[in-house]
């Protein structure tokens, strides 16, 4: 008859609970939701788009410094949902790793390699007691030389998958339900459709219509594989197109 909970420490560090769960990892997922932001990523035929809310809690804050979209290299972007400080650490390490990769191997780090590296790092935190898991879900996007547009999501448990579309944050499940319906028949979205699907998914799930300064949008396109954050004007164009379409 196995003994009870590991002395109560199974909630404090990443050791197993009697049911074989890792509570610290589960709590890390809750921390991601607690940030109150929802993010969405959609992969089209020749582009990938990620969208997130831009909540500026204080009018005195400099809006430009509030961002969850980070370029890792010229060609790879990362959208971090959850605890901002943890996100910044992750981004810093990812940038370093990508730069070293380029130096060491002579070619740009592919999307899936970066995603795997992030996920493997997260796994270490779930196995070693001295570091807690990061409270961040990272969506990595880029154009792969062989496979085309790619979107990966990495979570605090160390899982990572490629996605046709996905979501993270507060309204993650609602957004995934919405996206599942849209992507059911494997549509091959054009760039405009990709961006508009992502933005309208966010609007639908949060049940509000956004202004251009309330969301952040990042894209990569096959014709120009550089990771780009859309400007206010571009976001406005898409928002207008969506409202005219409805």
């Amino acid at each position: 008859m196995s003994r009870g909970s590991g002395g109560g420490y199974d909630r404090h560090i990443t050791i197993f609970s009697p049911e074989g769960r890792l509570f610290q990892v589960e709590y890390a997922f809750k921390a991601v939701k607690a940030a109150g932001i929802t993010s969405i990523g959609v992969r089209g035929k020749d582009s990938v788009c990620v969208v997130t809310q831009k909540k500026v809690p204080d009018k005195l804050l400099d809006q430009t410094s509030v961002s969850h979209l980070f370029p890792i290299t010229k060609y790879l972007g990362l959208l971090a949902t959850g605890m901002t400080a943890d996100a910044r650490t992750l981004v810093q390490q990812a940038r370093n790793e990508a730069a070293e990769f380029r130096f060491r191997y002579g070619y740009e780090m592919p999307v899936d390699v970066l995603a795997k590296w992030i996920a493997d790092k997260s796994q270490v935190y779930t196995q070693h007691a001295y570091m807690r898991p990061l409270g961040v879900v990272a969506m990595v996007l880029g154009i792969d030389d062989e496979f085309g547009p790619r979107l990966y999501k990495c979570d605090p448990a160390g899982h990572f998958f490629g996605h046709k579309a996905t979501s993270a944050g507060l309204k993650e499940q609602e957004a995934i339900n919405f996206l599942e319906k849209k992507m059911k028949n494997d549509p091959a979205f054009t760039y405009e459709e990709t961006v508009q699907t992502a933005i309208s998914a966010l609007q639908s799930v949060l049940q509000e219509d956004f202004k251009a300064n309330e969301i952040e949008v990042g894209v990569v396109r096959q014709e120009n594989p550089v990771f780009r954050v859309l400007s206010m004007e571009e976001i406005d164009e898409h928002l207008t197109a969506i409202s005219e379409r409805d």
Binding site: R3, Y9, T14, G20, R21, A129, G158, H159, G162, T166
Partner: protein, 235 residues
């Protein structure tokens, strides 16, 4: 390893002499997706369910069965991220052996080294055991072999085995169906039937993975199309 603050083992003996962290790790394995392996007279097959959290996940980006060396493959039940760590360590071990002895690592040696790593994590400071059980399938000079490695680091050679959610039904099914003179093709059919037993939903080439190794000593993962062919034969 890790911070000196945690230079004590987190896996310690209970008064009844058990290592409860290992037991909990086995529970984690038992709630993982079912996987199984069968050793035939002329090869080995390993298979697993591949249930993904959503249809939005690109199933071609996920490969649960991994090739450790050209003639050794592995599948797991339990925590995917932990599995990746073990696969990476195995690749390195295999390569180091090859560098030293200029020949491919025998299956038993590789299994022993992976098991040693898993045991380390049940005794070292500041770490928890791996939440995976592995089925290692290989074909070397000693013929076809199938080993199961548990979170404790103990390993055994099996004629056929199963792990994960549906383990008891699967093992009963395998016990009935297994024969010593089974051919590889039969073993593939049997493994599909075993997976089908506990499968929720419609089984297809996209939600299971199968890896085989035959007398050619080349481990490979079947494509979804090949799995569909086998499924059609089984119907």
């Amino acid at each position: 390893m890790g911070d000196s603050q945690y230079s004590f083992s987190l896996t310690t003996f209970s008064p009844s002499g058990k290592l409860v962290q290992i037991e909990h790790a086995l529970t984690a394995v038992g709630s993982g997706q079912t996987s199984l392996g069968i050793k035939a007279a002329n090869g080995v097959v390993i298979a697993t369910e591949k249930k993904l959290p959503s249809i939005l996940v690109d199933e071609s980006s996920v490969q649960k069965i991994q090739t450790l060396t050209p003639n050794i493959g592995v599948v797991y039940s339990g925590m995917g991220p932990d599995f990746r760590v073990l696969v990476r360590k195995s690749w390195k071990q295999a390569e180091q052996y090859h560098r030293l002895y200029k020949e491919p690592i025998p299956v038993t040696q590789l299994v022993r080294e992976i098991a040693a790593v898993m045991q380390e994590f049940t005794q070292s400071g500041g770490v928890r055991p791996f939440g995976v059980s592995l089925l290692v399938a290989g074909f070397d000079d000693n013929g076809p072999q199938l080993y199961q490695v548990d979170p404790s680091g103990s390993y055994f050679s099996w004629k056929a085995s199963a792990m994960g959610k549906n383990v008891s039904n699967a093992k009963t099914f395998l016990e009935k169906r297994y024969t010593d003179d089974m051919e590889l093709d039969d073993a593939v059919h049997t493994s599909i039937l075993t997976l089908k037993e506990g499968f929720e939903g419609q089984i297809s080439g996209k939600n299971i993975e199968i890896g085989i190794i035959g007398a050619d000593k080349q481990f490979r993962v079947l494509t979804p199309a090949e799995i569909e062919d086998y499924l059609a034969e089984v119907e």
